[in-house]
Symmetry: C2
Subunit: 283 residues, 2 copies
C-alpha cells in the first residue's frame, strides 16, 4: 500500500517539477539541459513526498504545497551536483547515470547547481510562501544546516584517526544531522507550516523528520556495507557501532519517530508505514 | 562630493554585512572564515550602494533596506567565488588577494559560494521583504539573468571566431546584459520596490540601472586594454568597436541613464554624479 502511494506521489512530483523548470529549448540551452538531466535522473522523490505528507496530515491542500515540494527537490539535486564535483566526492556515476560534471563539464555542473538553488527560491517566492517558510528552508540548507554538515564532513574526516570513540560519535552525529538530516527535517516542518498547522503539530513532525532522517542515513551505511560499497573504517555509523549496533540504533530512532505521530491519530497511517519502510528497506 | 558619499555608504554596508554573516568562531569555522574572507576583501560595494541610493531617491528609510543591500553584496561575492574556480576562469588573485579556492581549497570555495547565496535568501526572508522583491532578485541571478550570462559566455566564446560581426555584437550584448547587467539592474529595482515606489519610478530606476551596468562593463573593457590585461580579440566591446567606439557607446548609455533620472528632479543628484563617474572612471 505504501509502495503504490509513494509511486503515485512521485509521478505527481515529476509532473510539477517539469513545470517548475525552464524548458530545454530556452537559451542558453545547455544549462537547462543540465538542470533537467540531474533532476530527472531517477530520484525517489522522498523529500518532496515528505512535504506533501506533512502538509496532508495537517489538513493542507496538495496543490498549494506542490511548488514548495518541488523547490526542496531542486535544492536536493543542487546539493548532489555540487557534492559529486571532482573537488568534493569526485563521483562519476549517480543512480547509474554519469554525474552532471561528467555528462556536461565542471563549469556547467557548478552553474547548474547554482541555478537549481536559485530557482528553488524563485519558485517559493513566486508562489507567495511566507517569509517564515522561506527562512526555515534557507536555514536548513546553509552553514547551520546542510552546508555546515558537508563542511564538517570534510574537516572531521581528516582528523578522524586522532579522535576518541566519543568524539567520533559526536562528529558523525553532527555530520548526519546536518548534511542529510536538516533537509529531511525541514520537509516535514515546511510542509506543516504551509498547512498553517499549530505549533505542537509542526514540532511533532519536525521531530519525526529528525529521527527518520538519521535512521535513513544509518540504514544507508548498513546497505553500503552489504553492497561492499562502504568500509568499516569510513566516516559511518557501521564504522563505529558495527552492523548490528547500527541496526539497533536505527530501530530505536524509528520507534521515536512513530511516537511523535500519535498526536495525528489514524491520519498518520502513511507516515507510520514510511517510518517502518525506512528501517527495513533493502535499497 | 560623490567620493565622500560612496566611502561613507561603503562603511555602512561593511558594518551591516558584518552583522549579516555568521561569526568566524562558529562551527564549522573554515566555511565562515571563507565567506568573510571573500566578502571583506576590498570590494567597492557598488551594488549595495545602488540599492541604498534607489531606496533613498524613492523616499525609503536606509535602515529598512540595509539587509536587502547586504544580501545583494553576498550574492555578488558568491558569483565571484564560483567564477574564479579552476573550472571557470581559474583566477589566482582577485583585488590583489588570493582567490577563495587558492586561499582555502576548491571544495570550501564551492561551498562558501553556495552558503553566501543561501544566506542572502535567508536574510531577505528573515527581514520580511515581500515575495515580489525576493522573486525579482532570484530571477535576476538565475538562468534568465546572471547565471544565463555566465553560461552564454562559456558557450559563445567557443564559437566566437565563426560569427559575423552582427552575431558577435548580439552575443556580447547578451552576455553583459545578463552576466553583470541583471544584478546591477535589480539593485535599483529592488531598492525602489522596498520603498514602495510607484511603477513609473521603479521602471525609470530599472532603465537607469540597465544603462549604467552596460556602461560600467564597457569602461571595464577599456580599462583592461589600457592596463594590458585585455586582448582586442577577446569577448569584449573593445574587441568589436575599438577603444574610441566603445567609449562613445559608454557615453551614450550614460546619457540615457541620466535621462531616466529626470522624474526624480534634484533628489537624484548623487545618481547623476554616479553615472558621470562610471563613464569617466580610471580604475
Amino acid at each position: 500500500m505504501l509502495k503504490g502511494y509513494l509511486s503515485k506521489k512521485a509521478k505527481i512530483i515529476d509532473k510539477a517539477l517539469n513545470k517548475c523548470l525552464p524548458l530545454k529549448s530556452q537559451y542558453p540551452k545547455v544549462i537547462h539541459e543540465a538542470m533537467r538531466y540531474s533532476v530527472f535522473s531517477g530520484g525517489k522523490r522522498l523529500r518532496p513526498i515528505l512535504v506533501l505528507m506533512a502538509n496532508d496530515v495537517c489538513g493542507g491542500e496538495q496543490k498549494d504545497v506542490l511548488p514548495l515540494a518541488c523547490s526542496i527537490e531542486m535544492i536536493h539535486n543542487y546539493s548532489l551536483i555540487h557534492d559529486d564535483l571532482p573537488a568534493m566526492d569526485n563521483d562519476e556515476y549517480r543512480r547509474g547515470k554519469l554525474t552532471c560534471h561528467r555528462r556536461f563539464n565542471e563549469a556547467i555542473a557548478v552553474l547548474a547547481g547554482d541555478a537549481l538553488l536559485t530557482r528553488a527560491f524563485e519558485i517559493m517566492a513566486n508562489y507567495g510562501y511566507s517569509s517564515n517558510i522561506i527562512s526555515e528552508v534557507a536555514k536548513a540548507i546553509g552553514t547551520e544546516g546542510m552546508v555546515g554538515g558537508q563542511v564538517a564532513e570534510l574537516v572531521e574526516q581528516e582528523s578522524l584517526h586522532t579522535k576518541t570513540d566519543k568524539k567520533k560519535e559526536e562528529a558523525i552525529n553532527y555530520v548526519h544531522l546536518h548534511k542529510t538530516g536538516a533537509l529531511i527535517k525541514v520537509c516535514l516542518k515546511a510542509g506543516a507550516m504551509a498547512a498553517k498547522a499549530p505549533k505542537r503539530k509542526v514540532k511533532a513532525l519536525e521531530n519525526y523528520g529528525q529521527n527518520l532522517g538519521l535512521a535513513f542515513q544509518i540504514t544507508d551505511d548498513i546497505l553500503d556495507i552489504k553492497q561492499d560499497k562502504g568500509v568499516f573504517g569510513d566516516f559511518t555509523y557501521t564504522g563505529i557501532y558495527g552492523i548490528n549496533g547500527s541496526r539497533e540504533i536505527a530501530f530505536g530512532l524509528i520507534e521515536q519517530a512513530k511516537e511523535e505521530l500519535k498526536v495525528f491519530g489514524r491520519k498518520a497511517k502513511m507516515l507510520n508505514q514510511l517510518a517502518d519502510f525506512v528501517a527495513k528497506r533493502k535499497k
